[in-house]
Symmetry: C2
Subunit: 340 residues, 2 copies
C-alpha cells in the first residue's frame, strides 16, 4: 500500500515534472523539498508508486514521470485548487466586461481562456432546446434563393440558405412571413415544428411545393438542437508544447480541428456533481487524443440551457491552475449570459 508520504512524493513528482519536463529523481526531490528523510527512503516510496503504476521510468535508469493513472490520482486527491491571482481575475473582468454580439462574447471568452491556461480553449455554443420562437424572417437573395432566419427568445439566431424550384415574388414571401410569425410567435420549439408540418396545407396547391420546402427547412432549424457549433482559440499553444507529444503534433491538431470529434468528446464527458470533468490521456484515446487531457465544465446561458467549455492540452499540464481558470471563466460567462 502506498503510504501518506508516498502520495506526497507523487504530488511533488507531478509538480516538478510539469514544471521542468524532466524526469524527476530521488535526489532532486530531497534537494528541492523538505521531506526530512534521505534519498534512499524516497527511492523506496518510488518503488511502491511504480508498482501501483502511478509513475514510470522512461528508461531503465532515469528519473520517474507520472503515468496517466498518476495524474488521475493527483487531480482527484492531491491538487490544491488555489484560486486565480488578482491579476487573472481583473483580466476576466476587463476582457468580458463590455456588452456585445453573442459571437463576440464567445470569441472573447475562448481567447481569454486560452490566455489564462496557455492551452487550446474551446467554447460550445449555447443550445436553444428550451427556448421559444421569437421571429421568423424570409429574405430573398436571388430569384430562386431564399434565406430563412429564425430568432429565439434566448437570443440564438439561426440562418439557412435554400433554393426553391419556382420563382417567388416578394409579396408572396411577405404574406408567408407574416403568417409564419403570427402562427409561431412565442411558441416553443417542439410545438412550433408540429405547426410547421401542417403549414403547407393552408396554401393553394400551386404554391404548396415551395411552402413545403421552406417549412421543412424551418423545421430543421427549429429542431436542430444546435449545440453543434463551437469556437476554438490558442492552437498555437499546442505547438509551444510540442515536446510533450511522442510523435508529431500534427495528428493531434488534426483531431482538434475536427469539430465533430470534439463535440462527441464533449458529449461523452462524465461531469461530477459540479458539472466539472477531467479526462486524462488514454481515456481520450478513441478520439485520437490519447496524449492529451481535457478539462471541461458546464455553463448556463439564459433559460438554464447547459453547454460546455474547457481546455485541451498535453497530459503534462498545470492542472491546478487550469481547472481553476476553466471554473472561473464558466462562472463569469454564466453570469454574463444572464442566467437569472
Amino acid at each position: 500500500m502506498v503510504s501518506e508520504r508516498g502520495l506526497d512524493v507523487l504530488r511533488v513528482i507531478v509538480q516538478d515534472y510539469v514544471a521542468s519536463r524532466e524526469p524527476v529523481g530521488s535526489k532532486s526531490i530531497v534537494e528541492r523539498h523538505s521531506f526530512g528523510v534521505s534519498a534512499a527512503t524516497i527511492r523506496n516510496d518510488m518503488a511502491l508508486l511504480e508498482e501501483e503504476e502511478l509513475i514510470a521510468a522512461p528508461h531503465t535508469s532515469s528519473g520517474r514521470i507520472p503515468t496517466d493513472k498518476g495524474y488521475r490520482v493527483f487531480v482527484d486527491q492531491l491538487a490544491d485548487l488555489r484560486p486565480l491571482s488578482a491579476a487573472q481575475r481583473t483580466a476576466i473582468e476587463i476582457f468580458l466586461g463590455s456588452s456585445a454580439d453573442l459571437d463576440q462574447v464567445l470569441g472573447r471568452t475562448v481567447r481569454l481562456l486560452s490566455q489564462l491556461t496557455h492551452q487550446v480553449a474551446l467554447v460550445q455554443y449555447p443550445s436553444l432546446s428550451r427556448s421559444r420562437i421569437r421571429h421568423v424572417e424570409l429574405v430573398r437573395l436571388a430569384s430562386t434563393r431564399v434565406m430563412t432566419v429564425l430568432i429565439t427568445d434566448t437570443g440564438r439566431v439561426e440562418q439557412r440558405l435554400i433554393d426553391v424550384s419556382a420563382e417567388l415574388d416578394d409579396s408572396f414571401l411577405g404574406q408567408l412571413g407574416a403568417k409564419l410569425n403570427s402562427t409561431l410567435g412565442g411558441v416553443g420549439l417542439v410545438e412550433g415544428a408540429e405547426k410547421l408540418a401542417k403549414f403547407p396545407e393552408q396554401f393553394p396547391v400551386e404554391r404548396a411545393s415551395e411552402v413545403a420546402r421552406i417549412s421543412s427547412t424551418l423545421i430543421e432549424q427549429v429542431l436542430a438542437n444546435r449545440q453543434d457549433k463551437l469556437v476554438m482559440a490558442g492552437t498555437a499553444n499546442l505547438v509551444r508544447t510540442e515536446e510533450d507529444f511522442s510523435g508529431s503534433v500534427f495528428p493531434v491538431l488534426e483531431a482538434i480541428e475536427e469539430q465533430v470529434t470534439l463535440l462527441r468528446l464533449f458529449g461523452e464527458m462524465h461531469p461530477d456533481q459540479n458539472g466539472f470533468s477531467v479526462s486524462i490521456g488514454k481515456e481520450n484515446a478513441s478520439f485520437g487524443l490519447g496524449e492529451t487531457s481535457v478539462l471541461t465544465t458546464g455553463y448556463s446561458a439564459s433559460g438554464g440551457e447547459v453547454s460546455r467549455l474547457g481546455v485541451i492540452g498535453p497530459t503534462r499540464m498545470d492542472y491546478s491552475n487550469n481547472i481553476a481558470a476553466v471554473r472561473a471563466v464558466a462562472r463569469y460567462l454564466s453570469r454574463l449570459l444572464g442566467e437569472d
Copy 2:
C-alpha cells in the same frame, strides 16, 4: 542579363525545391531535366541567377534555393497554371453542393480550400456595406438585457447584446420594434443610420435614454461595415510544413490566430485586374509573416460586395496548384452566394 535558358533553370529550381525541400545542384538538374547542355553550363547560368538575387546558396558549397525575389519572378512569369484535376473539381461540387446556413457554407468553403491546397485557408465574411435593412428585432433576454438583431437583404445577420439601465417591458419593446421596422425597412445602411440618430426624439422624455441606448447600438451595427470576421481552417498544415520555417512555427501560428492582423493583411493586398494577389515572404514581414506567402482573391456575394478568401503557407509552396485552387473556389463561392 539572364538568358532564356536561365529562366528555365530558375523554373526547375523552384519546382524541384518545392517538391523535395532540398537545395538543388547543377548535376541533379541535368539528370532530371533534359536541358541538352552539361552541368557546367547550368552552373554558369546559376551564377548569373545568383547575381540577380533570384537564387541563393544556403551554405558555401551546396545547391541553390530560390529567394523571395526568385519566387516572385516564378509566380509572375513562369508558373504554368494548370487547371485543377477532375477529382478536385468534383470535390468542390460535392463539398459545397447542398444548401445551408451561411456560416456553414463559409465553414465548408474554408475546409475545402485547406484540403485542396494543404495550407491554412482563410475566408472573409461578406461585407454588407451596400445592402439594405430588411428587419430589426429586439429580444428581451433578462429584465435589463436586450438583444438587437439586424437582418439585411444580402442575408447578413448581425446580433448584439446590450444592457439598458431601466427595466423595459415587452409591450414597449414591441412598439419600439414595430416603429423601427416601419422606419428602416428597405432603407440603405447610411440613410438608416441617419434616421436612427433622430429616433429618440420621437419618444417621451422618460423613455429617451433607453431608446437612445438601443438606437446607438443599432447605428453601430448598421455602420460597422463588418468585413471584420473571418474563418480559418487547416492550421494543422502549418505544423506539417514546420521544417520550412527557420525558427519555430509558434510565432507564425500566433500571428495567424490574430484576426486583426489578417484583416489588415487582407486590406493591404494589391490585387491585379482579376482581383488576385500574391504576397511573398518578406513582403509580409511587417505582419510577423515574413516566411510565408499569401495568395488571395476576391469573391462576390449577392449585391456585388467583394470580400476576400485565400491561403497562407510557407514561401516554399506549390504556387501553381494553390493559385488554381484559390481561383476555382472563389469562383464557385461567388456563384453559390448568388452573384447574379
